[in-house]
């Protein structure tokens, strides 16, 4: 009986903690939105964050995009040539990149490259009591530290995903047309016939924007919410990467089921 009660109590505590954490995160999100006016009035703050989370992620995004495109080119050609439709390689590479791989893989890379850095920075600022010091000087840390990092991530993410897709299509073109010898004209014309700007490209951009909001939100929240110890910061960074990956994949499923029903 005691064991049962203890188990139930544990379950209840977990549920309450979960709801409380979600509520806190949501209120934090609203507070960030409320105080984000300053990150646009004082644009250099946000530009600095775009530099750190966007420009410095360029290398990993472009190189990964190229290699994903190269692999898609090889695998796609292998499958398509069995059906005698290797001309459709461009369609396959571009659609899989624009709809799924571009936003998702760029989002995962962004979470581990930039999201973790943001969490570490804010977490260390909290641990070394810089955030409290700002509060003492009547500088709102949400407006000065958190909001610019949030918006830097939100702005960078769709641009990075678009570059990832473009780079991937270039990689697929390199393998398909340059290396294997698929007809150049058929590659591009079939791609253009199959890819619709609003249906495929714009939906991919919307996806990457949503992922950008999710990852940036998780990153700044985990940094702000972390235990102010060395261990706490490291745990917060781990949570940022894990939660971001889960959020991206789950959101991707939800968005895909709304966007591409195939009906």
């Amino acid at each position: 009986m005691n064991v049962l009660a203890a188990t139930l109590r544990k379950l209840g505590a977990m549920a309450i903690d979960g709801v409380w954490g979600l509520g806190f995160a949501s209120r934090f999100f609203l507070a960030v939105l409320r105080y984000s006016g300053q990150s646009f009035r004082r644009l250099p703050l946000t530009i600095r964050e775009i530099y750190f989370s966007g420009v410095l992620s360029l290398l990993i995004i472009l190189v990964s995009g190229l290699f994903v495109g190269l692999v898609l080119g090889l695998q796609g050609y292998d499958i398509l040539q069995r059906f005698g439709s290797s001309d459709a390689l461009g369609v396959m590479v571009s659609l899989s990149l624009l709809r799924e791989l571009g936003p998702v893989v760029a989002g995962l890379l962004f979470a581990s490259r930039a999201g973790s850095a943001v969490t570490a920075e804010i977490g260390l600022m909290k641990t070394t009591e810089q955030l409290q010091a700002m509060d003492m000087m009547a500088v709102n840390p949400l407006a000065r530290v958190v909001a610019p990092r949030f918006w830097g991530g939100v702005i960078s993410m769709p641009l990075l995903a678009a570059m990832f897709s473009a780079m991937g299509i270039f990689g697929g073109w390199l393998i398909g047309v340059v290396a294997i010898g698929v007809d150049d004209g058929a590659f591009w014309s079939q791609m253009r016939a199959a890819v619709d700007f609003r249906y495929d490209v714009l939906n991919g951009v919307i996806k990457s924007f949503v992922f950008g909001v999710a990852v940036s939100w998780i990153a700044v929240f985990q940094g702000y919410d972390c235990q102010p110890t060395a261990e706490g910061v490291s745990r917060a960074i781990t949570r940022t990467v894990v939660y971001s990956a889960l959020a991206i994949l789950a959101l991707d499923f939800v968005l895909t089921s709304f966007m591409f029903r195939g009906l």
């Binding site: 439709s85 624009l98 641009l159 570059m163 195939g262």
Partner: protein, 157 residues
């Protein structure tokens, strides 16, 4: 890092990102896709649409002139009612026929328009009079076997 260098890098980054979006829009995607520009819709009813899907192309002489807007079943006559969204730029005679065709062996199904000779042109909400259903492989095979069975047996040699 100085302010100017920072601005330069971020400017380069944003320009690259926008260039990627424009590349995807212009080079990869068809920005001026027929389905999204202004169109008028006409209806056609078919006995059997086979594997026709919404957003399948509507072609005339092989040129894409529109898209399939919606497909539903008419509960009174039990025929499929297909809405065709045809680009405003293309006018067709009122007695144009529609048939469901397949591009290639494994290709998708599309609607082919066969223009008639009428002076009047199709208007929004018109109904196509002449339609030809999709070829369903099972039916064709069934018909072939039925005809084969009806033939008198070949004389024994």
């Amino acid at each position: 890092m100085s302010r100017a260098t920072l601005d330069l890098w971020v400017g380069l980054f944003v320009a690259l990102g926008l260039a990627a979006v424009i590349f995807l829009a212009v080079k990869v995607g068809s920005y001026s896709s027929v389905s999204r520009s202004s169109s008028y819709s006409v209806r056609a009813s078919f006995d059997d649409i086979g594997g026709l899907k919404v957003r399948a192309p509507v072609k005339s002489a092989g040129v894409v002139v529109g898209r399939v807007g919606s497909i539903r079943l008419d509960q009174k006559i039990y025929r499929a009612i297909v809405r065709l969204d045809i680009n405003e730029d293309y006018k067709f005679p009122a007695d144009t026929g529609a048939s469901i065709l397949t591009s290639g062996v494994l290709g998708e199904q599309y609607i082919g328009l066969n223009p008639g000779g009428d002076e009047e042109v199709l208007k929004k909400g018109d109904r196509l009079q002449f339609t030809q259903s999709a070829m369903v492989l099972e039916k064709l095979i069934g018909q072939f076997m039925f005809n084969k069975a009806a033939e008198p047996p070949a004389p024994a040699r």
